[in-house]
Symmetry: C2
Subunit: 349 residues, 2 copies
């Protein structure tokens, strides 16, 4: 059966042709209900006599109609109040050109809530594994104040601008990358921005970058459940979240907060990955539970999602990370993650 | 010689009696110059005919005069522009009562920029060590979306309100604690707030909490160089920062960003502490550089501050952290940190 989350995600792909923002982000979707195979909702227009109203309605109808299991779409047109209209227009000064040209199959957010658990490492390993499988892949580094992606792939700016937007930087194996560090003269320069600027940068990385046609865009989120996570979940058509945790109970408590945030905002969690899961001494082969016993199952139960992988601490990988050679790493554990993302395909397309 | 930073820190203790914010935060201090033993500056008043002007000027003058090395204070009174006045008044709805009663000797921020490097662990270990030395100590947990302090000390809410403000929670050994987790029904509840709310909470933890008389208040910062770090550095009289790093080069790159932020905002860095510095197998005693070789010296050089401690990974400590028994840990390495904070005393008091 189709869920309201699926309908909302489908509607996030419908752009207002004048405001260059999707109708969900513009708060246009009202009174959504799904009954069996019938979906009904109202599109609240910024101006009732909006000249683009027919195109917008048609786009929204087709997007929902294309969902598996949907037979009937009942769409009414309404209008925003003056206050709503002003609030919406206040946030739409920019006109991202690239967004209209990009075709992105699936946007996956990599999240944890806790810092230093290996979000960027898992994002990079997963991108590498997806690329090897034959998919086209991009990474949007949404960690504006602590970006790790460029270092992991050993790539640098400066960025080049194209006709419709900024060109992402390509990794050695052809993964498209966008990170704030490509914009800084020195990678150690600090980005001392408050929330609105952080959100603005992430929206630009989404709407003003020529991602082109991608099978997967992975979004590497910073720690926390504040501006960056909110912006990504509210303004991008996130297919689902991979939740990263570690054995330490203190960490898993914070990860539980991230799980609750995803649930509150109705973004599905696709799976849980546990990192820093013990250390195997390279000389003796003995395993040490450095950060305590696993709590992955408890996090997975709260998330209602499977544990996809448990990654041990491997000093070799740490060295390759620092050397910018993450793409040379092959981890059998990533196979299940690639499958999990691919297996979801028949359900929703 | 007295520095402008020392003068600004002294002025952060001068509160506007009506707006209940300090004069630095209120953007009142202008044209500050320090020449040998002579300090001159202008106090820009919100209203030129402010009835409290004499008291404010007298307070500011005494605060600066009390600095060692200052012989002469030249203070002029000015007025803000209408725009400045509105901007200042927009942020001063609350009237923190507690702030006027608290007497805090030294506010130390524990920062990293990077997540998961052990800021909260070091904060808790240092508080414990200071307390054992005989000081009165508090911890302000400024990590609003990922708080770790309550778990480390094994304490819970709910909080009690007093006449002048919120009462902090006391740890078993008498350390005063304030954290957002004391306010939540379930410690795993998510706090899904954007930047302004995060900043508001931190300001309340500072101004509305009955800290009482403390020798040290340690501020445990979240990862990043955004709202939380900015609010702490701009609105609290921070004596200095302890910067936490780890051996991984990727982490130290992000830590360098935090160092640059502190330098940009003119808050002195007191020392660098390296955490996760290798793992010693408990059975064989062999040391493994799990996250690579140390980069502490490089970070210290950039920070212009000494390396105060290098803390190895210790599974016993991880277990005690998860059990809320951090106060039972004694680490000889913390001695140098306590000394470093104490040694600074004669210089500025």
């Amino acid at each position: 059966m189709t869920t309201t989350t699926e309908v909302m995600n489908a509607l996030k792909k419908v752009m207002d042709p004048e405001l260059h923002r999707n109708v969900v982000e513009l708060n246009m979707v009202r009174d959504l209900s799904v009954q069996d195979s019938r979906v009904s909702f109202t599109l609240a227009l910024t101006i009732p006599e909006c000249p683009m109203r027919d195109q917008l309605a048609e786009d929204a109808r087709s997007a929902v109609q294309a969902l598996p299991g949907v037979q009937e779409v009942q769409l009414a047109l309404g209008a925003m109040t003056e206050g709503e209209r002003r609030a919406v227009l206040a946030g739409t000064e920019q006109q991202p050109l690239a967004a209209g040209h990009n075709q992105i199959g699936r946007v996956i957010a990599v999240m944890s809530g806790k810092g230093g658990v290996g979000k960027s490492l898992v994002t990079a390993l997963l991108a590498t594994a997806l690329k090897r499988t034959g998919y086209s892949v991009g990474i949007l580094d949404a960690d504006i104040t602590g970006p790790s992606i460029p270092r992991l792939f050993g790539v640098h700016g400066p960025l080049k601008g194209g006709e419709t937007g900024i060109e992402p930087v390509q990794s050695r194996t052809g993964i498209e990358l966008m990170s704030v560090n490509f914009l800084l003269p020195d990678e150690a320069d600090a980005v001392i921005w408050r929330g609105p600027l952080i959100s603005g940068a992430i929206k630009q990385f989404w709407g003003d970058v020529n991602w082109g046609t991608l099978d997967y865009l992975l979004v590497d989120l910073p720690p926390g459940t504040s501006d960056a996570a909110l912006t990504v979940m509210q303004s991008m058509p996130i297919h689902g979240i991979l939740m990263i945790t570690t054995p330490q109970e203190l960490a898993s408590m914070v990860v539980r907060k991230a799980v609750k945030m995803a649930q509150a905002i109705n973004v599905p969690i696709l799976g849980v990955i546990e990192n820093l899961a013990g250390f195997v001494a390279p000389d003796t082969g003995k395993r040490y539970d450095i950060f305590g016993p696993s709590h992955a199952d408890e996090v997975a139960q709260l998330a209602g999602a499977p544990v996809l992988a448990q990654l041990p601490i491997d000093p070799t990988i740490a060295t390759l990370c620092d050397a910018g050679e993450i793409e040379t790493v092959t981890l059998p554990e990533m196979g299940a993650c690639v499958e999990a993302l691919a297996l979801k395909q028949p359900e929703t397309v």
